[in-house]
Amino acid sequence: MPSSSFVSQAKEMNTKQVVAVVGASERIGSAMATAISKGNYRVLLQSENFEKVQYIVNEIRRDSPGSDVEAVPYAMEACWEADIIILAISYAKQRKVAEEISQVVNQKIVISIAIPVSDAPTVLLTSPYFSAVEELQAMLPHSKVIKVLSCPFTNGLNEPGMDAQRLDFLIAGNDEHARQSVCDLVKDAGFNPVIVGNLAAGRTLPTITSLLHTGNKNN
């Protein structure tokens, strides 16, 4: 049985880690990039829509002048420089992006924050027995793949009046050290990390969040 655990404050690192956000023009991607850039990180924003990420980068620089952010045109370039990769992409693009970055992400932490839903939000695109993130781990066998899901309403991230501190981020992954690093990252971004276990334990997460999203839309 997967057990939940709140993670204690880890010792802050002096060395700046580099985080690449692939799909940074999407709402969740840009929200994550903006949140992380407030911590001691260098953040590389990448998307097919390069103009849009440049715009987001300028916004972040304007709002927090000390931040170390940069727009990078290619996913492979961004991931080559990064220590931690965040894939904020739809399930449909997962295979293509995984192929593109596969040679530069060995041993690195790859975080998937997308939910594999189709346009009809209750329809999951993957088999319940083999989640999208497990597929990603299979495509990137030498990376430490971690599933991160905000709970309950990812859509609330950008909305005014939403108390970011109240957001729990559920974390699932097979590598213990990687899970811990992602906990630190989520905490630095101002959210509340909750480890739920390994990737198999994380299978139920998309189903739950998908339902919550539907509920959110219906309300």
Binding site: N14, Q103, N106, Q107
Partner: protein
Amino acid sequence: MRQQQWHKAPDIRGFFIFEAGVSAKMGKVDERAGRNGTFPRLMSFHSGFVTNFIMMYSLYFQTFNTKVALTGEEQEVIKHYLTVKKLRRKQYLLQEEDVCKMVAFVEKGALRSYKLNEDGSEHIVQFALEGAFMTDLYSFLTNEPSIYNIDAIEDSELVLITKSASDELRMLSPKYQEFIFQATSEAYIQLERRITYTISLSLDERYKQLVANYPDIIQRVPQHMIASYMGLTPETLSRVRKRISFNK
């Protein structure tokens, strides 16, 4: 899981890696020249991505093969434990008080490690140019916080191995074990030489010895860093250089 990879047929990129490895063993590959078309066949058939990929590890495996010969398959397996990373000029790979969790190998560019004094002065301990390793071995082995900073003095491309990956690979591959032993021995000898020259030679002799043994460092590294490496002020180093050129 990982052991199965030994038998996994490499994909087309793996084939080229294998080819590059064999050529490297035969001493034919100059990895820097490679960028200018050492692999014309490959360059013409594949995108820059594939070429880049080969370049990411080429010097590492060339160095590996000169110490311990690897098969293409062994190379593929070792590659899975390695991390490639770009580091821009002036960015840190390690800052003091953090635990050093990896050993870096310089594929391209240049790194330095230095100790920062309370008055803000830098004391450079080591340079690493292409083909050299860089780490804080004490911190890496003991998990104690480092007293050094490591940063890039040029835009760099690195091959990293983390402590956990290195430990795992050492159990798996006697050849990797041997490679690490040889590389560590070389680093030890270099340090021993550096101490010996520092305590036994005159300033002029030390600088001449540096020029003779590390001409690349002298050419590429700013003078004030050379002075710091020698434990001199830039002014003293300048006088030493003038004296040497005058006496030629």
